[in-house]
């Protein structure tokens, strides 16, 4: 049976059919569709698979580790920067090891289509000394995710599974296998899960001893293979290391290439040393094509001369690879017949018409006119768009929750007024601890907790704290009379302005909660009440056929 699937959906279905027990995730582009697909699949309901969203990537990673401990196969999904949040649990899970298979998906975003950096998750895999898989196509994604669970159980280690935007969000036809039954092993009972120093030292040594098994797995997998292309026997051979989807760009270029190539396709790490030796034997040039940071290139530079790639300028140092940049690295000219039009204007994304965040910024900007030295610290979500015209309201946007932490720190340094703007889902993800710090220090900051009842930026997933924000803020120690709810509409801007002015004058922490439903989810809810909503992606997806 074949189905047309996004890379993310191929991963999701592959994991389900591998006998998954639960998916644990916080939404983040380009990883969100993995969990959404599992949520919509009938097998999840039949089998009682865990699919609910988690509060953040760390809680997701820990719950998945718990499921693995108890003997089931668990999947964790996040965007690349989520790895920073999950890192404590992730790195230590390499020391405890796993019981049921545990696969951690990090979806990287080279070119920062929807992100604030382009960190490469493969470094996390190497840092934690874990196997990393990096498929090159939708079919390979489907196939490799079940292999990842098997490898995880064989090595008793988590496996890091790296996706990139162009694979996550690209569709192709995928051959689907029949679902395996759900895996259920006995719960773990070894002492290795208690990472007291004496035990942790032993476990760490065991992890180091396992490295040869990781190396062996990388050497033996079919996904790491050498292919040769000979077009002109008189010309020298060039070695190319192509990882993940970079392999596709190399193959795309091969059709136009006139020389000889020896290609090592890499889809599993650690790098297979023996295959690299074979690849590089007798060649003058070694070209490394990898989507993301120069992870392979840096490693090869230590042992080999004549390595070229992003570090040498053969390929661009930043941004995702394209078929054009890779072709050009191989000396092939791709050509444009038409120049870019001279009349183009940029069309950046913007807050939706009617969005409540608009009214929040209109009121904030009005108040801040009186405080030229004041600053508004922003956060991650739709409302980050308040940094762009027409609002230009934000001084910063760094990481999940940073608005409150930075407002507190700036206030410690005497900045006044220090205002934080944070969304509801971002607040429960990583803002609550910052708020507790501010309460304990009695920081004179004003927190605008803009609540649209959903995780909007990623498409409207459930938000962990919906309907409990006042209670959460009061429980963290904010004075009840300084927790105020307003309704952000154009008509209410004068009264919101008034509330903001009052709370800025308060010499302690205040939280103002503008609350109105996201326009996107509102539209969806209105449609749903008009017509029945299909709930099963096996039946309803626009894109699936069987044959």
């Amino acid at each position: 049976m074949k189905r047309l699937l996004l890379g993310d959906e191929a991963l999701a279905l592959g994991a389900l059919n591998a006998g998954l027990g639960g998916v644990y995730a916080y939404p983040g582009t380009p990883s969100t569709e993995i969990t959404e697909y599992i949520q919509g699949n009938s097998l999840s309901k039949e089998r009682g698979i865990h699919t609910a969203w988690c509060t953040n990537e760390k809680t997701a990673m820990e719950a998945a580790l718990g499921m693995s401990y108890a003997g089931r196969r668990a999947l964790v999904c996040m965007k690349h920067v989520g790895m920073n949040v999950a890192a404590d649990a992730f790195v230590n899970s390499a020391i405890t090891g796993v019981n049921g298979g545990l696969v951690v998906v990090a979806a990287d975003d080279p070119s920062m289509h929807s992100s604030q950096n382009e960190q490469d998750s493969r470094f996390y895999g190497k840092f934690a000394m874990l196997p990393v898989m990096e498929p090159s196509s939708q079919q390979e994604t489907y196939d490799m995710i079940s292999e990842a669970f098997e490898l995880s159980e064989e090595l008793h280690l988590p496996v890091l599974f790296r996706m990139v935007t162009r694979l996550a969000h690209s569709r192709a036809s995928v051959e689907i296998s029949n679902p395996l039954s759900m895996k259920q092993y006995d719960a773990a009972s070894e002492k290795g899960w208690v990472l007291l120093p004496a035990i942790a030292r032993r476990q760490y040594n065991a992890l180091i001893e396992k490295q040869s098994a990781l190396q062996k797995a990388s050497l033996e997998t079919y996904h790491n293979r050498i292919e040769t292309i000979e077009k002109d026997p008189r010309q020298p051979e060039i070695a190319v290391v192509a990882s993940g989807i970079a392999y596709n760009y190399v193959l795309e270029a091969v059709a136009k290439y006139k020389g000889n190539l020896r290609i090592l396709k890499i889809s599993q790490y650690p790098l297979p040393e023996e295959k690299i030796k074979r690849l590089t034997k007798g060649v003058q040039r070694i070209i490394v094509a990898e989507d993301g940071q120069p992870f392979i290139e840096e490693q090869l530079c230590k042992s080999y001369k004549n390595v070229e790639g992003r570090l040498t300028g053969l390929l661009p140092r930043t941004g995702e690879l394209t078929p054009d940049t890779v072709a050009s690295a191989l000396g092939i000219e791709t050509k444009s017949y038409f120049q870019p039009s001279g009349i183009l204007e940029a069309r950046p994304p913007q807050l939706c018409p009617g969005c409540g965040h608009r009214d929040v910024y209109a009121a904030l900007n009005k108040v801040m006119e009186d405080y030229p030295k004041g600053r508004i610290f922003g956060d991650i979500g739709c409302y980050t768009l308040g940094a762009l015209p027409p609002f230009k309201a934000l001084a910063s946007c760094v990481d999940m929750g940073a608005s409150i932490g930075m407002a507190k720190g700036a206030s410690d340094a005497g900045l006044f007024p220090a205002v934080a703007v944070i969304g509801d889902s971002t607040f429960t993800h990583s803002g609550m601890t910052c708020l507790l710090d501010a309460v304990n220090a009695k920081s004179p900051i004003t927190v605008v907790l803009s609540d649209n009842l959903t995780t909007a930026m990623t498409g409207g997933q459930d938000s962990a704290g919906t309907s409990r924000f006042e209670a959460i803020c009061i429980a963290l120690g904010v004075e009840p009379e300084h927790v105020k709810v307003v309704v952000p509409t154009p008509g209410n801007i004068p009264s919101i302005t008034e509330t903001l002015r009052e709370e800025i004058q308060y010499k302690g922490v205040s939280v103002i909660i503008p609350r109105r439903e996201c326009m996107q989810t509102l539209k969806r809810h209105q449609k749903q009440t008009q017509s029945q909503k299909p709930t099963d992606n096996q039946i309803s997806s626009d894109n699936q056929t069987s044959k």
Binding site: H113, A172, Y337, E345, D542
Partner: protein, 192 residues
């Protein structure tokens, strides 16, 4: 044979529905397909595009190289021009003529038309007005698909029609009819 298509427009205009119908038709015709699309932040009223590749042979890259797109299908005229470096020498542009102005500075109608006059194969129509006249204002994107249909070649018109019906089936008969009506209108426009 291969057909590389760039779909473009503004977030929310419905370019992905065009891709979905083509994808359905390709899968049911045993034609290989790769279709890279944009999710996330730019969907909020920003410029969006999708790279759609069809072939009866293997497709490697999810992205179309410079100079190889056989077609740019655009829901918005300025957005059609954004992808010119990808258009092949004999490639064509099929676009809505009606600007979607949600930015403070937008090129004048005159300069826009002057740009299109420089290009060899352009087909423009006020698809929004046409769809309104047909009583199906939400199906303008299917007029574009109709205009492009005979140029896709790898997929038969009947396969496109039946795929369109399948894709919209769960939205009800009326929606299917509206979309088919618009598809046919686009197709007829082409043959004039």
């Amino acid at each position: 044979m291969k057909k590389d298509i760039i779909l473009s427009g503004v977030g929310g205009q419905g370019i992905l529905s065009i891709a979905t119908v083509i994808g359905e038709a390709a899968t049911r015709s045993n034609i290989n397909l790769k279709q890279a699309e944009v999710h996330g932040m730019s969907q909020r009223g920003g410029d969006v595009q999708s790279n759609l590749r069809l072939s009866d042979d293997d497709i490697h890259s999810d992205l179309i190289p410079y100079g190889e797109a056989d077609m740019i299908i655009s829901m918005e005229p300025m957005e059609a021009l954004r992808y010119l470096p990808y258009l092949s020498k004999d490639g064509c542009i099929i676009t809505s003529s009606k600007p979607f102005v949600n930015i403070p500075v937008y090129p004048s109608e005159e300069s826009l038309q002057a740009e299109f006059r420089k290009l060899p194969n352009v087909q423009m129509a006020d698809i929004e007005q046409m769809a309104k006249d047909l009583g199906a204002p939400k199906s303008a994107n299917m007029i574009l698909l109709g205009m492009a249909a005979s140029k896709i070649e790898l997929l038969s018109l009947d396969k496109l029609r039946s795929s369109l019906s399948r894709v919209f089936a769960r939205k009800g008969e009326k929606i299917v009819e509206d979309n088919l009506k618009c598809f046919e209108a686009g197709l007829n426009l082409k043959s004039k």
